[in-house]
């Protein structure tokens, strides 16, 4: 293929973290989807930067199981409403900011089941008018309390009741991958969770890459490159960018730090202290130094 060299160079999508967030996120984000599940593969560098830049989010859309990714944005007072199936810290406990804001009526929660969330995203990326849902959902209170996502319809084939969920089409999605190139091609080395569903449904995708590598290297086995560059608007390199959550096959979650967060975020004051101690005014490099130092 030596004679087969393009005449013009391709544009790189690589940006600095702050630049990517400030360029692609309006100050009032209509809807933001955040990838990862539980304490794994959360795009935390992007999320911390959104906190630093105080981007307000009208609607936060999570994967079927959100964790500190959602909790941090909520605690920072940036989120008006959330579409989710679950926000928690799995075996470590409940999500403190989510809990506090919801209990104080300061966060509108659209609680929907995991399948509806996935099918809503798929309806967006497949250009479907809505996702048809099983009538069994009538027996759960989610269909009563989040009626926007469970519109009663009739199954035309048997006359039985069913539900319709509108397409869930995030304005922006934050996704973290282990490896990627400057054109936005990404490799999910571990679990894909529903990151692909999110990025195909979203209008604009910001890709956080643990390790940026030359494109020839990333695309050597294209079958494992399941995040296609064409869906990605900006690529940000962020080593340990999923911290304190895990980055599958690269590092484990930092249970100690997650527990510290849970403790501090239990009150408004503690949460504010957490932000001041680790995030606001600090670069990602400084964040990592500070969180790894046990003597601060």
């Amino acid at each position: 293929m030596t004679e087969n060299t393009p005449k013009a160079a391709r544009a790189s999508k690589k940006l600095e973290l702050a630049e990517a967030v400030s360029r692609y996120l309006p100050d009032e984000v209509e809807s933001l989807a955040i990838g990862g599940m539980h304490m794994h593969n959360n795009p935390m560098a992007l999320i911390r930067e959104a906190v630093r830049q105080k981007k307000r989010i009208k609607r936060l859309i999570t994967s079927p199981a959100a964790c500190i990714n959602a909790d941090l944005l909520i605690g920072a007072g940036l989120v008006e409403e959330i579409v989710t199936s679950y926000v928690g810290f799995e075996h470590l406990g409940l999500a403190p900011a989510f809990r506090r804001f919801a209990q104080e009526g300061k966060l509108k929660v659209y609680e929907i089941d995991e399948l509806t969330l996935i099918l809503g995203l798929k309806a967006a990326s497949n250009g479907q008018p809505f996702a048809a849902l099983s009538p069994v959902l009538a027996f759960s209170d989610v269909s009563k309390f989040s009626p926007e996502f469970y519109r009663p319809i009739t199954n035309p084939f048997n006359g039985q009741p069913a539900f319709a969920c509108p397409p869930i089409k995030p304005q922006i999605a934050f996704i973290a991958v282990q490896q990627g190139d400057e054109f936005g091609n990404g490799i999910l080395k571990g679990a894909p969770f529903i990151d692909r569903e999110m990025l195909f449904a979203a209008e604009t995708v910001l890709l956080q890459v643990e390790q940026l590598a030359p494109s020839e290297q990333i695309t050597r086995n294209p079958l494992q490159v399941t995040v296609p560059g064409m869906k990605v608007s900006a690529v940000v390199e962020a080593r340990f960018g999923c911290h304190p959550t895990s980055c599958h096959r690269v590092y484990h979650y930092d249970e100690e730090h997650l527990k510290l967060y849970l403790q501090m975020a239990a009150t408004n004051e503690g949460f504010e202290e957490y932000l001041q101690k680790y995030i606001i005014g600090y670069s990602e490099e400084e964040y990592l130094k500070r969180t790894q130092s046990r003597t601060l």
Binding site: E90, F139, V142
Partner: protein
């Protein structure tokens, strides 16, 4: 990170309550079936793997949203989505896992809750008013789909009048609705695919549901617990048969298998 030095070399005398629960659940699992587990379900994963190692070599199980099929639990870890679960046989998508509930292709699901009522309805959402709750729980996960699941087992980490309540504040997972009559009506209308909750396990007891009325019934009390304790810890009037046996404790073989993969002592 997450190295549990304190558990290495811990004494292995007797058994913990989580180990008992894993063994009891394991025994209920049938060979050749497919079982789904969810968030924070180390006990459920341990039960599945234990069943594979003992009486159910052809059982298949899914580790929650990870999509991992038949993790070897090498070792057992807390998080359902931990990469360790990918030491397994195959990996399916999250949508494959969750879709298999309403499509009825997974035989049995495990689920947990903050509250459960006498008909097996489960609440993992809110306590109090939905829009300004006294306690905001994590949320529904896959629980609303349980009316489509062929069978499901409810795992309660607390057994007290706060968690075993007359009526759940929010019905996340539908159990037998308002009891036998309402259940049979919904079934007759063809709207419910599944058979409802099969079993409830708590730190005190094993319970199921009486066939006709679908009210919760005491099946066995764990060693060291009494019927009276269970009744007192239950916030509704529990159906108590004349003879309530003791839950069969883990056998030495069960414990040996369990600890062969729970080397970090997650269940201890």
């Amino acid at each position: 990170m997450q190295i549990r030095l304190e558990t290495i070399g811990r004494p292995r005398k007797g058994y913990s309550i989580l180990e008992l629960m894993a063994c009891v659940l394991s025994r209920t699992l049938k060979d050749g079936t497919t079982v789904g587990t969810g968030a924070g379900s180390a006990v459920a994963r341990a039960a599945c793997r234990l069943a594979q190692l003992t009486h159910a070599p052809n059982l298949n199980y899914l580790a929650g949203g990870s999509g991992a099929v038949n993790p070897l639990l090498d070792p057992l870890v807390d998080s359902s989505c931990d990469y360790t679960n990918y030491i397994c046989e195959s990996v399916v998508t999250m949508s494959d896992v969750i879709g298999s509930i309403p499509s009825g292709t997974t035989d049995l699901f495990f689920c947990g809750g903050l509250q459960i009522d006498r008909y097996g309805n489960v609440n993992l959402s809110v306590i109090g008013d939905y829009n300004k709750p006294r306690l905001r729980g994590p949320g529904s996960a896959a629980l609303p789909l349980m009316a489509g699941a062929r069978h499901f087992i409810i795992f309660m980490t607390d057994h007290s009048p706060r968690s075993f309540v007359e009526k759940v504040d929010f019905r996340t997972a539908p159990g037998f609705l308002e009891g036998g009559e309402s259940w049979r009506l919904a079934k007759a209308q063809g709207l419910i695919g599944g058979e409802g909750p099969l079993l409830v396990i708590s730190p005190l007891a094993v319970l199921d549901f009486e066939e006709e009325s679908k009210t919760m019934r005491l099946l066995s009390v764990h060693p060291g617990k009494t019927v009276e304790e269970v009744v007192a810890a239950t916030g509704f009037s529990l159906m108590v048969p004349e003879h309530v046996p003791e839950t069969i404790p883990p056998s030495p073989e069960e414990l040996q298998f369990l600890r062969s993969f729970d080397t970090d002592g997650i269940l201890s």
